[in-house]
Structure formats: C-alpha cells, structure tokens
Point group: C2
Chain length 190, copies 2
C-alpha cells in the first residue's frame, strides 16, 4: 500500500535495535483518515471471504480494528493483556512473549464473544516475531472458530513472524512489509 509506505518513510522514526516508531500516525496519535484507507484495503484483500468477527489485541490494535470493522460490518473483540494469576474459567487464554518488553503475559477473551460459528479475521498494527498473532490464533482455535486470515499494517519481514504464520497456512495480508531497516539507511520495503 503506497500511501502507507510513503507515510512510514515520512513520519516513521528508526531507533537502534530494529525499533520503528510510528507513533505520529499509527499507535499513539492516530490518523483516522489513513485508518479508513487501511480499512478499505483490508476489505479489498479479503474480498469474498465471509467474516463474522474481527479479533485484535489491546491497546493499539483496537484503533485499526474498529475502523476496519466498518468495512466488514462486523463487531470487534479485543483480547486483553493481563498478568493476573487467577483467571476465571469463562475465558479463553494464551501466553504471549513480548518482543518489545521481553515479558510473558496472558491474553484472554471471554468465551461469550468467540464461538464455534465465528469466522474470524485478525487485525493488528505490527507483526514481528508473530507471538501475539499466534496467541490470537490459539484463542480462536480454542473456541472452535475458524481463522479467516490476518491483516497486518506493518510487517517486519526480517523477523520470523510472517514466515511462521504463512507456514501454518494462514492467509496473511500485510500492507507494508519491511525488508530491512537501519538508522543510517532508513526503511526498505519488500
């Protein structure tokens, strides 16, 4: 998606350790007009697929998921991150290791909101090592629901997440795939 790639080049900031900061438009300040174009593009990429629900993960995935949901005309469910020890039996749960923070946390979704008839599209802002996405796939599988695919705004193509997900046969659509990045050389897309 050219509009998105140009925006990343214009407003993204590269920090040491393969960190790409896009908080000017994607995950702290949110450019809703851009999100509408992103939502439209996800709809185009999953054209003809039946989707009954969009699943994302707090916090920054919520924004993209909500705007995308307008084009699919379905509700959004967001998985909650928690470090609570006692999780009641009325939730599906999975463990996720954070790339950014190096911690392991639980993600949960109420059983009420994912069920066996659901055809679920996962939406998230970033894909790096794929751990969060795999956690979301776990929740959907636990519910007996169907994973229709995953729509990602920015994929770090030089990390293993994309390959892991595609190797599982999941339809993965990333709107911008970064081939390599460095403070000196900037961002190069696939």
């Amino acid at each position: 998606m050219e509009l998105l790639k140009n925006r990343i080049i214009k407003d993204g900031k590269i920090k040491e350790g393969n960190v790409l900061k896009v908080d000017a438009f994607l995950n702290h300040q949110l450019d809703i007009e851009l999100f509408e174009k992103i939502g439209e593009e996800f709809k185009r990429r999953f054209e003809g697929k039946e989707v009954t629900k969009i699943l994302t993960i707090e916090a920054s995935g919520i924004a993209i998921a909500c705007i995308a949901a307008r084009y699919f005309k379905v509700p959004v469910v967001f998985a909650k991150k928690t470090q609570t020890k006692n999780i009641a039996g009325d939730v599906y749960t999975s463990k996720v290791e954070s790339f950014t923070h190096g911690k392991v946390y639980d993600i949960i979704v109420s059983k009420e909101f994912l069920n066996v008839d659901d055809k679920v599209l996962i939406i998230d802002d970033f894909l790096a090592n794929g751990k969060a996405l795999l956690g979301l796939v776990d929740l959907i599988t636990a519910a007996g629901a169907e994973v229709i695919g995953a729509g990602i705004v920015i994929e770090k193509g030089f990390q293993e997440g994309g390959k892991t997900i595609r190797d599982k046969g999941i339809k993965l659509e990333s709107l911008a795939i970064i081939k390599e990045m460095s403070v000196e050389g900037g961002v190069i897309f696939s």
Copy 2:
C-alpha cells in the same frame, strides 16, 4: 440517548459493588454500528465547537474515540497507562487512581502530540469518580492547549465525577447517566 440506554438495559450486567458490565457491546466486544451512532451524537452535542484533536485513554476509550473522530475529522491521541518509574522528559504526565483496580498509575502523552494551539475534546467510555478524566484535563492543561469538553458514553451519576468536572466549568456530555443501579432493581437513568 435512548438507543444506548435500551442497549444497557438489554445487555448490561450489574454486579455487586456498583459494577456495570457492558462488555458485550462497549468494552470487550465492540458494536461498531452502535459506536457510529454514538460518534454522531457526540458531534451533535458539540456542534459549532472547534475541535482539533480527540484525547482518550487506553484501552477501551480508544474504540469510541476513533469512531467519533470520523465525525469530527480530527486525529485521536490516546494517553498511555504506565507504571514505569522512569518517564522521559518528552511526555506530559499525570497520576490517576483507578476505581476498578484501586491502584495509582501514571498516564502519559508525548509532548509532540499535544500543543498550545490544540482544542481538545476528551472522549471516554465511562465516568465514575472522574479521576481518569481529571488526569486527561491535566495533560491538556500542561500542554497549554484548550479543553473543549468531554464526551462520555456512560456516567455513573451517583458517583462524584460528573459534579467535579461540571464544577470546573467543563462542558460534559454524557450519553447515558445512571441515577441508581442494583442487582435487584436494575439500572435507572437520570
């Protein structure tokens, strides 16, 4: 807003301790069609007011703020909750005491995304003791920006937050104000 009140009566669950669970449509599963009506209603309530930015707080405020932002045609900024001790100097920060969790946490916004020319509308899902809302007002004031008002989906009218905010001269628009609630008697609106 009748549509919202009816939905609260239909799908809200009252728990002991004045807890109203609306996670079927407002803060876990998100009914985007309802959110569009809510966004339109906020636009109507703040008609004629110049707004340059919507400010909310993670996580569940983000969803409402993003859909509302479509009607105001402005970006959203969401304050992040953090318990990090070392907060860099490039953020505005305030302390908030959580009603639900009984903990104090910091909320932060990058200085980049709130500035002296901004006319800020605060959007959030719930207003109870008003601490989160006051924290957001702090951030706006620290930036030298103007608080245009606050749009709240559900106000617990029997707690002090609404009065505190209105006493400060802030235009507060709550779409459903709960006068009283109990497990036995259900929800009664103002």
